[in-house]
Structure formats: structure tokens, C-alpha cells
Subunit: 283 residues, 4 copies
């Protein structure tokens, strides 16, 4: 007996009757829809759909895929189906500040991150004790070796642990274009500014000097263009003008860790669609 | 040629394959789904679904209803279908404060309330000029006549204007049980407290005396039990402890008018489902 | 008997004992402090203070000013004292969209804007009826005349009405550098983007294309550098990815009108301090 | 040389010239005001003031107190002065859920809780490992012994560690009236509901059944009347109607831990004033 749950994601130009066709195909193949979220973006005439369904006894994944490929042809749609029993393997990269790492660890321990986290990697030794207290192997890599060699070390660890997805949890190294390409749309970074404003270094200093009244953080995919990758999640906090830069930094930590967690959660739930450099998060 | 848009709402015990069956039925009858929002409430095992579809040339409403009644039988579902071309007729009842009335008027003038507002009724003369400046007939009713007679006057105006739906926009009269029954789930009130706390009179005074740090407002259906009807929308605002009761009242106005508008908008969009004394708003 | 209330604002390099000296001076001259808000910005070592005091029988404004000028010398401070009985005269400039104008009108009518609004000016005839319904003179100016001549017309109206302060309430004309200089720190604009991101035209389109998850509006002083003047107030609203550009525009209106009102209110309360291109709002 | 920082709190009926008198007294005794926050609550005619000052070489605490007692007499004011170099000793009481404990531990480790935390106490063994990983002694007490004996054990530990202040971090035992009296205004509890609504057990279930659209948490002082003590801090989160009770519980955790931290921080900063069963938090 098959009791698996699957996520099906679909993306195509908007057309008539797609939902009926797709839900019919799932039903005919022995799937039972638990949740369907759909959006037609009228500004670009695109259709996005995320369906969670459970497999009944009659369900067979290969038959389903074969059946579905006919819809692919008919509607010219891009689609993926994910078996929720297969957990993504996630590596967390950190430097010296612990708040983002702790947030991910605590959510993971609480069963709120649906993945495996087999390894934590850092360019500094400072957070080894955190990894150890959660019984996760900790590796230190050395950027002083030179970017190519150091990224090769990093890549070797990612390969060794069969990593699917990388989280930069306030990792203070700019990744090479090659790295970003290899991990295209599979590497999330947290930026401590409300992008697209305040890119690059010291965003809290930039924000304070500009006198903005609300600060934020942005979870986005890492791309070769620094801090310009597709945005997944953002949150903000009001700062009145009696706050110093140090207080911006302190208050911002709570926003950063929350945003990173929410971005990772959306990735693991297969809720993220891509179109022309931006995301559509359909939940 | 038929270019109408329809909203279909469905509510039933959760069962397999409902979405496939429903979307199939729409498609077979010449409807094209524009938007489908669905929710299975696991705590009560109920399924709620709101579908917006456009009618193609082949669509015939009576045939659709006939076809759909088979699904009604099979799945034991409660359903309604609304022709979006038929606008609800809404009466607004006010007393002396203008902020909620103005909000509805401005949104109406801006095309953001999908209804007709043929009449404004008050128990005071104060806001006649507002109605007039928006060219809407204004009636004054007199509660001093005694509740029965005064509500009869009110009802006569509602009948005269073929009103479908009543909005109490800070209307300072408690409606009778009979009135609430007649307008069951068709009369929205705005309460200036974050219900279920601070029911009844002077909610801002109650909130201040309790020292709460956040105040709010609640849009809900009027029922015989004062301020206990199903909640549609709520919003809040942080109040620091340097605020006086008068400032609570002033700040609260912005929350009230926003909440009332959002509640009315959800009603007009047919997004509200009812189950055991509460609402499920599915958008 | 003198029952006036005054606002005193002070700005200087941070030094010991300023609060004691200032509050002593007020007390000795027959003033009674009702409210004192003070902030030392450690990042720039600056002291800002806003004091509201009432005048007792013994108070004499000229004596107070004479006494206070000694503190000015000793602490090298910049200060202003405002008699709250003297209302600022405010002109509102509008174009075609009514939401910001209506917000200011309604707050004004409700006694929540502590000023006089003797005139409304527009480059279009569309909103004349709004001005009229609030019994405020409406003037139309014509940019087609050429910038110099048109701004001269505008300036003549502002002079005629003895205007102290100008509010650009979605006024769709870029003001000249000369105008901005003449009205330096006395002209507030509302930008429909969360500055410093999305400067210039069509900020909602920019935001949608970038895929940001939160949009906002910014109330700021108009300067020659478009959308770069000192920020007074900002607010934001979460937008999920099912929102179209049109919905951004619709939802943004509520943020814009609220932000503009809050910015104007802070200006009228003398709560805004300036330092190196940014504001410090001390309440 | 004396470089200490002090917090002075003052509370009295509102009167003329208090700020001048108080700031003068500090200055004359060799104190330099770093920050002054003051509020006159017009609804009850009470004056609250919190002053942070640094001691210059000339400052002598005993002389200051003597000098200040004259103001106490003249203005009939209640006051306290706290040497910020003397850290409060805080005990954390926990049961089985870790999120609130972890939040306090992480903020403590990050230097953002200005206190000593010498002991963690629980009625269950589950969280011993968390205490140990932060190198803080962990004690288990046994309610099965009977309330009197078990609270005596608890009290003995609190005495042994010279505890000033107790934090109930989702501690699942109702404290006796005697305990609440002994720790009057020195024991903070976190309630997982937006008080005063949803007192007592299972507040998330209550909230879901009522269909509220926003849930919250409340940090308050423990009193004999369950969940009715003075409120210190509250925060809320919007929940749409597609959320289950389990999701309320999961989402609520983030609100609870944040609110508890903010409440404790305000207590340690001496920002909390009491008047007629509510707090005034003056920052």
C-alpha cells in the first residue's frame, strides 16, 4: 500500500481549462488532491500551480508521469513532481554570528524544517560548539588558501554529504560566479537590508545614514550579481529615530533569522516559482 | 455571447476527488476557471472552496445548475453560484461619527466596492451633508419612537430600496433580535475593540484601564448576542503607554474604518463561509 | 492671564547638564514643562530636544528669549520656540487622484491637523469638487505655460494666502530647483515607493518586476534631487505574489494617504530635526 | 573615580516644575543626565519619569539620596535609584517546551539581557540538556509532592541562588497565592493568548474556535488571579482561516518567545511603573 504524499508544481502560459485537466489527470491516476494553490499573473499572462496530493493504492508514479507528459505537450507546461518522503539534504554555511544558525537549528529540532541537515561549514572556528551541541558535524574551510582552492574544499564537503541545497546563514564570503551557477536556485542567502535598497556591505549603516524609518532583511537566491538574486521572503521592523546603528544591528538580528527561516521553509515546501528574474511564491 | 463571470462557493465534509469533480463539471458546462481557492479544515474535517470562472459561449447557467445538483447529491455539499454582473444593494447606517462612512464612500467612488449603495440611513441628522456630497439619498429614523416602530420605519426604507445587505458604520443603536434574525449573516457591524475582549460600551476605556499594549477593531456579523457574531476581519495597532484614552479613540478610528472596509469587501466577494458560529474567509 | 502653550526645540553637540540648564531656564521664566522628549544620537554625538511647556502668569516670551540666548551662547545650541496658538498656513497641491487629498481633508475636519488650510491648488480641474465640498478655495495652474511662468503663478497664490508650508498630495509635477530652495524644509512630498528603493516614475511597476514582498510609501521633504530629500515617515504593507501591479496600486493608496498624514502631523508638531541630510523625528 | 550609571524612577501626582526640580537635583549632586523619558497620564493626572544618568567624580550616592528625599517630601513622590553595575539575579522556570528558554539563553549569550542567570528550574527533566549546553545549573522540582512542599523546595533554590526575579518561561504549574505575593511584581509569566481574551488553558484552541483573525501572546506579572496580572508587553500575528490549531500553536511560539524576551528586557531596564492594576512602560 502506497501512502506517500506528493507535491506537483506547474508553470505555463495561461490557458483555458488547465485546472480541470490537471486535477482530472491526478484523480484518474489514483491521486487525491489535499491542497491546490493556483495563481494567474495577469501582468505576464502566466499560470502557476502547486498541488499537494496523496497517493491511493491505485497510484503509480511512473504511470502518472507518463499520463502527465501528455498534458505537458498539450499545454506546453513546465512541471515537477516531488515525493515528500524524500528529504532534501541541506548544508548550512556560517561565519561568526550565531543567531541565524541557532534559529535554523531550533526549528529543525522542533520538527519545523522538513529536511536533513547533515553538515555545518564555516570559514571560522567560532560556532563549532553550536554544531556540536546539536550533534551535527562541523567543518572549517579556509578562504586564505585562495578562492579557487577554498571553494574546491567546500564543494568536496558538499559532495561528500550529497547536499541538495545550501543555506548561507550570515556567511561572510562572496561566492564565485562558478559556485553561484553550480548552485543556481539552490543556494539561499540572507541579506541584512531591505533589498533592493542597501545592497553590499554595512546595510544598517547605510540605512541609518539615510534616515529610513523602517529596516528589513531579505532572503534571496545567491547569484553572481551580489544581493540581486530572486527574492523569496522579506520582513521589516519599525525603527524610531532614537535608535543608534548598534541598535539597528541588534534589532535587525531578529528580523534576519526569521526571514531566513521563512525563506528556507518556502524552498523546502516547493512553493517557489521563477519567472524573468523574480520569484512567485505560491502557498 | 455570454461574457459573465461567476463565483461558485462550496462547503461539505472533506472527501476524495471533490476538486477534480467540481472543476470537471465547470469545464464540461463551458466554464473556464479563473481562480480557485480551497481549504480543508483538518480540525473539523470540512472542505471549503471558492471558484471564480468565466462563462464561454457554450455556458448555460440553468444547465450548469442541473449538472451541479448531481454533485450536490453525491458529495452532500452546500453550494451557491453568483453572477458577478448582479450587484448587491447595500444600505449604510450611521450615527454621528463620519470616519467609517467616509471610508466606504471613498472606496465606492474609487470603484473598490463592487456593489450599489442606494441609501444612507441615520438616527441623527449630523451626517446628512456627507451623503449629499456623494449624491446618495439620506434618511433619518427616530429611535425615540420606541424600538418596534422605529425598526419598522427602518425596515420600510430597506424594503423600498430593495436592500440585500446592511452595514452598520458606527451606528449607535443596538438592533433587536428580530432585526438580527431577518438580516442573519447579511448585516455587518464594526466594533471598536479587539473582540472577544472588550465587548459592549466604551471598549477603548476598557482597554486603557487594563493596560493592553495593542488595540484593535473587529468587523463581524450582527447577532442577537451583542458583539459576539461571527468575526470577518480584524486589525490592530500598537499603543504605547504614553497614549491617553482620547488618543486611543483617535488612533482607533483609522483601524475601524480600514477593518469595516475590508470586512465589507470580503462579503461582496463571496469569500465568507460559516461553520459552527465562526467564519472561514477563503480568498 | 497667559494660557498659551509653547514648543521649544533644541539641537546641539552633546554636553553635560543641558537638560538641567534648559528645564531650569524654563521654570525660572514662568514656564511649566508639560512634556519633554530628548535624544542623544551617539553615532554623531548630537543632542536633540523637544519641550512642550505652558506659560504661567509670570511668563513673558521676550524675557524668556533673552534668558535662553545665554544658554545658546554657553552650549552653542540651535533653538526655536513656537507659540502653539499661531497656526501654520498650509497649501495642498494635487493632481487627479483624490485619496491623499481626502485623507488630509477628513483629518482636518476632524480636528486632527493643527493648522489652517486656506487653499488647494491643482494642475488639473478634476478635484475641484472635493475642495468645494469642504468649502476651501480651489485654484488651477497650468504647467503648459512653461515651468517658469507656471511656478510664478503658483508662487503668487502661495503668497496671496500667506502660506507657510506646502503639501504635495500626489502632485504630478516635478518642482524646479528654485522652488525647492525657496520652500526648503517647508514642502512635503509623498512618494509611492519605499525609498531609497524605487525612486522616480512607476515605483509600483518597479517593485512588482523586482518581486519584492513588501511595498511602501515615503513622506519626505522635496529637494532638487528627485525623491532623495530627508525622510519623515514611512509605512509598508505585505504583498503576496498573487497580487498584480494594479492591486499594488490599489493597496498602496491606503499606505500613501496614511504616510502623508503622519508626515504632515509630525511637521506641524515641530517634531522634526535635521542633521546631515536626514531627519531625526523626536516625539 | 566613579563611573557608574544609575537609573532613577519617579512617580507622583502631576505638579508644576517637577522636571526642573529633579534634573536640577541630579546636576547639583554631580550626576549627568544621559536620557530622560517622562509621561504625564492625563486620564489619571499621574506623572511618571525614568532618568538614566552617569555619576561624575563629584557624585556621591548617599548625598544624592539625602538631597532627593527633600523632593520626595515636597512633591510627595515615590522613587527608586538603581546602580546599573549591580546585576539582577534571575531564575528561569521551565517545563517541556524549549522555545522560550532558548530565546532567553541566546539573548543572554549575546549580551542582550542585562542580568545574571545563575539557575534554571523545572518540573520535568526534558530541558536539562539545554541548561547544560549553556553551562547553567539545572534543578528539577516535583509537584507530585503536594503544592506546599514542592513550592518550599522551589523557594529554597531561589534563596540559595539569591534570586531577585523569576521568569516563568512556559512553566506549566499554577503558582500559589502565597508564592505570587512573595514575588509580587517580581515574577513574569508568558501567556500564549492575547489577554484579556483567552485566559486559562488552551488559548489557541479558544482562539481558533472563536475564529479570530489575529492571535497573540502576553507577558505579564504573575498574580493570584490567573492570567490577570499587570501586562508588560504583547505582540500579535495575523492568522488566515486556512490555519489549523496546530499551526496556531507553531506560529504562536515565535510570538511567545519574542514577547517574553521583550517583557524581561523592560523589567531589567527599570522601565515599568505600576498604577491601579496596570503598568505604564516608559522607555
Amino acid at each position: 500500500m502506497n501512502t506517500n504524499t506528493y507535491i506537483l508544481t506547474i508553470q505555463c502560459a495561461d490557458q483555458n481549462s488547465i485546472i480541470a485537466a490537471v486535477s482530472g489527470c491526478i484523480s484518474e491516476n489514483g491521486g487525491n488532491i489535499l491542497n491546490l494553490a493556483q495563481h494567474t499573473a495577469v501582468d505576464i499572462n502566466m499560470f502557476f500551480c502547486r498541488i499537494k496530493f496523496e497517493a491511493t493504492d491505485k497510484f503509480n508514479l511512473e504511470s502518472f508521469k507518463k499520463g502527465f507528459s501528455k498534458l505537458e505537450e498539450k499545454y506546453n507546461l513546465t512541471w515537477h513532481v516531488f515525493d515528500m518522503a524524500v528529504k532534501k539534504r541541506v548544508a548550512i554555511l556560517v561565519s561568526k554570528t550565531s543567531h541565524c544558525l541557532y534559529e535554523l537549528m531550533l526549528k529543525y529540532a522542533d520538527g519545523e524544517l522538513d529536511c536533513e541537515i547533515p553538515v555545518i561549514i564555516s570559514n571560522h572556528p567560532d560556532l563549532a560548539h553550536v554544531a556540536t551541541s546539536f550533534h551535527i558535524p562541523f567543518y572549517q574551510v579556509d578562504p586564505a588558501k585562495g578562492k579557487a582552492e577554498y571553494e574546491a574544499d567546500l564543494e568536496a564537503i558538499l559532495q561528500q554529504y550529497k547536499i541538495d541545497f545550501v543555506v548561507l546563514a550570515r556567511y561572510m564570503q562572496v561566492m564565485s560566479g562558478d559556485f553561484c551557477k553550480r548552485w543556481h536556485n539552490r543556494c539561499i542567502n540572507i541579506h541584512h537590508g531591505f533589498l533592493p535598497a542597501f545592497r553590499g556591505a554595512k546595510p544598517y549603516h547605510q540605512a541609518w545614514n539615510k534616515g529610513v524609518k523602517i529596516i528589513g532583511a531579505t532572503g534571496h537566491f545567491a547569484t553572481e550579481d551580489l544581493d540581486q538574486g530572486p527574492i523569496i521572503y522579506q520582513d521589516v521592523i519599525r525603527v524610531n529615530d532614537t535608535r543608534s546603528i548598534d541598535e539597528f544591528i541588534r534589532m535587525g538580528k531578529d528580523v534576519e533569522r526569521h526571514v531566513l527561516y521563512e525563506a528556507v521553509r518556502r524552498y523546502l515546501a516547493h512553493s517557489i516559482f521563477f519567472y524573468e528574474g523574480r520569484t512567485f511564491v505560491i502557498e
